[in-house]
Amino acid sequence: MTHTDRKVRIWGRPLLYTSYAQDMALFDTRAKKLWCGGLVLFALALSQVLVDHTLELLATALVAAIGAIGLNLVTGYAGQVSLGHAFFLAIGAYTAAALSGDPAGRTLGFGVTNLLIWLPAAGLVAALAGVLVAPLATRLRGLYLAIVTLGLVFLGEHVFKEWDDLTGGPGVGRPAAAPELFGWRLDRPGPLGSREQQLYLLVLVVLVVFAVGARNLARSRIGRGFAAIRDRDIAAEVMGVPLTRYKVLAFGVSSFYAGCAGALLYTVSGGYFEAGSFSLLLSVQYIAMVLIGGVATVSGSIAGALFITLLSPVTRELPALLPFISGDSTQTPNVFQVETVLYGLLIIVFLVFEPRGLFGLWLRVRTYWKSWPFSY
């Protein structure tokens, strides 16, 4: 239609869009590009600065962020409330562990330690489970869907507790997936530093890839379809969004993210896991990440995951400050109870006062300065 030299942003005019590509660009302003680049560099630099214990914690948080992004895709973007996230995490974790496990070991194992194989495989198996569950979502809405997905968690918990060959049995557990990349074990000290440093860098790279992927998905045709379904499924269908296909897709993609997160989660933290981990509490934690971080935002999911994951080490310090709280799980009140109560409280506080979560807080700050020196 137009014949000009090239479509370039006109300098100093961030609001002047001359093509839709500019309008929808991932980094639509220079400032965003610079800040994001700076943030990734900062995260990379942290691997050289922080002590191993903190790095392990951060790496766990980054893996949780991948899972939270996945949950946000289905719950935040597509509006399908899912309490079954722990189930998909479990499927990913066991697929990866079984694939990379020692064939001669106590538990099931196939000896495929290559990360490039077991990570996508974990995602795909979880995605398959998600696709199988998705037809429920096309029939049910809102509260009913939440309860049905809740059922998944209990089903899964039972199966994993009974299937000793795979899970090692309750209270015993099995080793997590072994991360090997091009014949080089990342969970042993190597050229990039200690075990924690290497694993941290690994999950950071994976997180960046998954986060960019989710952002791109959200701003594509599919993402707009998800948003349309969330806002009103009947209206979306009238506009030509195929409901069934998009809901299946939402569950599939979300479960893929969950599967990958589950596969990495225990590799990064401890290297050992047992069937009892995948309880309703885990699902609630992820819901908390999404709600506290910010519904339907990728950066919010990451912020929420960091917040929730770093909350437990902070609460573990509580007995030192408040002597009436015990560090022992057999006494009441203990830190674990406090932690659970905190999740609930935080969800309530955020839902009531800032439904847009941490991202909403950031938005408020940004709007305050963006509208400077006026108020609107």
């Binding site: 239609m1 030299d5 005019r13 609001l15 001359t18 839709y20 020196p373």
Partner: protein, 610 residues
């Protein structure tokens, strides 16, 4: 295309053609459609102009024929304008707000052969008066919505019109160029109908030479001169000489990128998007921006109000100094501004869409110096300029660094300007003086004397022998019962500088004292009332409130302190309605028709002297 067929006469059209050859891919125009600023390169611009030219040839347009354009600012306006001039016809611009009766008058008076109308609204106006316009042969409509069901053989859809041009170009390649080759500097190029505050509009005839003089002179006003790197926002009616100069002529002569605002309502938003570097506004626009800043200051959160309020006071101080120095910074103001830039001015200008403005001008009507000072204080280089349709908008202007507030500046280069010894009327003489009023030799003789001096009808005085200060329109000077000559516009503009006053009409000719009819600004006074918990329903209800009366009384008192006793406003009354173009109280350019207002509200005026 051979050299032989090329015209020797430089015109706006040849300038665009030459740009299309030199820089075909650079951006000439931008218009927002479907949320995106669609860009038009010079080559595409020229091709569209050529197609319009061919289409007009195909419809049998002869040199000297009039073609009317009745549309909001958009790309097709420029394509049409230049296409019309390319085939040596004459462009007649109609205001989009013109009611059917005025459309009829303008079409009949100009004898337009073809009308290019924007949409159903404008087509309807033309169809309603079709029987009165025997010379009108075709109506080209740009937007088909609602018109497709019309069955009038004179209607042509814009796309079909261009198709006609395309097939004509295939059959007669170079026909437009050949027609252009015959154009002479004395050729009539456009009829610009003056808004007519006193009588029916008069069509000022501008020739190619007039416009060429205006183009070369006006481009020299900004320092450094406008270039293809500059952006302007086109939002005032293109049939007005000032907007035509800043949009069409600047674009052709200096390659300035023209951005069309979506509508007059979206100007604030479009300004923020485009961030123009050169901006022309009429006083009403600048007053509105100032009123908006004040309104938003009042409703800002406490911290922001404190910060913005402080820096606005500093800006006021800076403005005072700049007023003294003529717009040149001193070390003190530069330092103050640099600090204020960090905390306030940068973001304030960004929010107003004035961040990148390097040359701002106000013209077409008198403006209060306080408004100009505000803009100078926040760092917008503001210049009041003066010109009128009859001299192709070329007369005087404040130059960067030599600004005298309250004056309209120094005569442009090549402009002869003197004051009439007896009346003080401003007379100008230069190649931009128009060729006369269309089909009105008597009116022409009244303003253009044998020596070529144009009688502007404005009374002025010299300030420091270099700058011209306009006191008022000749016809508007009031003589009070005490025999004092009073220029009402000075008082009116001082009143209108307040954010709460939209219209002010000072009366008092042959009366014992001066009085004023005041129209409040519904937006700001409404906001003011809302903050005070004052309920109101309509404009009339609001202006009837005692509190509002008190508020405006305060404004009037403040203005009165600045004037001599005989020039003070003793009493005032509120206009019971907002003045409008439709009702004949305002001209298309939003100027008050004093006669109409005085007649319409005669009892109100009488009440002020009882």
């Amino acid at each position: 295309m051979t050299v032989a067929t090329r015209t020797a006469t430089t015109s706006v059209v040849t300038r665009v053609r030459d740009r299309a050859l030199a820089t075909p891919g650079r951006v000439a125009l931008r218009e927002k459609a479907f949320g995106i600023w669609q860009e038009v390169g010079w080559a595409q611009y020229w091709e569209q102009v050529e197609l319009v030219g061919h289409a007009l040839l195909a419809l049998g347009v002869e040199p000297g024929d009039r073609v009317a354009v009745h549309a909001e600012n958009r790309r097709e306006w420029l394509y049409s304008d230049l296409g019309i001039v390319a085939v040596r016809a004459v462009t007649v611009g109609l205001y989009p707000t013109n009611p059917a009766a005025e459309v009829s008058y303008l079409l009949v008076h100009s004898g337009a052969k073809i009308l290019i109308a924007e949409d159903q609204e404008q087509v309807d106006k033309a169809l309603a008066v079709l029987d009165e316009c025997p010379e009108l042969e075709h109506i080209v409509y740009i937007q088909p919505r609602g018109i497709t069901s019309y069955h009038d053989h004179r209607l042509i859809f814009w796309r079909d019109f261009l198709e006609l041009g395309r097939s004509h170009r295939d059959d007669h390649p170079g026909a437009v160029e050949r027609r252009m080759a015959g154009s002479r500097p004395g050729d009539l190029m456009t009829l610009i109908y003056t808004s007519g505050t006193t009588g029916p509009p008069k069509g000022a005839m501008l020739t190619i030479a007039n416009v060429e003089f205006a183009v070369t002179t006006l481009v020299g006003v900004a320092e450094p001169p406008p270039s293809p790197r500059d952006l302007v926002l086109s939002y005032l009616p293109l049939c007005h000489v000032a907007e035509r100069a800043f949009t069409v002529w600047f674009n052709a002569a200096a390659g300035v990128q023209v951005n069309f605002a979506e509508s007059i309502e979206t100007v604030p938003a479009n300004l923020r998007e485009v961030q123009p570097t050169i901006l022309f506004g009429v006083p009403r626009i600048w007053e509105k921006v100032l009123a908006g800043v004040n309104a938003r200051l009042d409703s800002a959160s406490p911290v922001k109000r404190l910060v913005l309020g402080f820096w606005l006071r500093v800006a006021d101080r800076i403005g005072d100094t700049l007023t003294r120095t003529g717009g040149r910074h001193t070390t003190a103001t530069r330092t103050a501004y640099a600090i204020g830039w960090l905390f306030c001015y940068r973001s304030l200008r960004e929010r107003l869409g004035l961040r990148r403005v390097r040359y701002a001008a106000s013209g077409a009507a008198p403006i209060a110096p306080a408004v100009l000072k505000f803009f100078m204080g926040i760092g917008v280089p503001m210049h009041e300029v003066y010109g009128m349709t009859e001299n192709s908008a070329v007369a005087t202007g404040n130059r960067p660094g030599r600004v005298r507030l309250g004056t309209v500046g120094e005569p442009h280069e090549g402009v002869e300007l003197r004051l009439d010894e007896f009346t003080g009327e401003i007379l100008t003489r230069h190649p931009g003086n128009f060729a006369g009023y269309w089909r009105d030799p008597r009116a022409t003789a009244a303003v253009l004397d044998e020596d070529g001096w144009l009688h502007t009808g404005d009374v002025g005085v010299w300030v420091e022998d270099t700058h011209i200060k306009i006191t008022d329109r000749m016809k508007d000077i009031l003589i009070t019962g005490g025999g004092k000559n009073v220029a009402p516009s000075e008082l009116e503009n001082a009143l209108k500088a307040s954010p709460y006053v939209k219209e002010a009409v000072v009366v008092g000719d042959r009366r014992p004292y001066l009085a004023a009819l005041i129209g409040i600004e519904l937006e700001t006074v409404g906001e003011w009332a809302r903050r005070r918990g004052l309920p109101y329903t309509t404009y009339r209800d609001l202006s009837g409130k005692a509190e509002v009366r008190e508020l405006v009384q305060g404004v009037v008192d403040a203005v009165n302190t600045r004037f001599a006793r005989a020039e003070r406003i003793k009493r005032f009354a509120f206009l019971p309605k907002e003045l409008g173009h439709e009702d004949g109280e305002l001209t298309a350019t939003q100027k008050v028709r004093r006669g109409a207002v005085a007649a319409l509200f005669a009892d109100l005026v009488e009440g002020l002297y009882r």
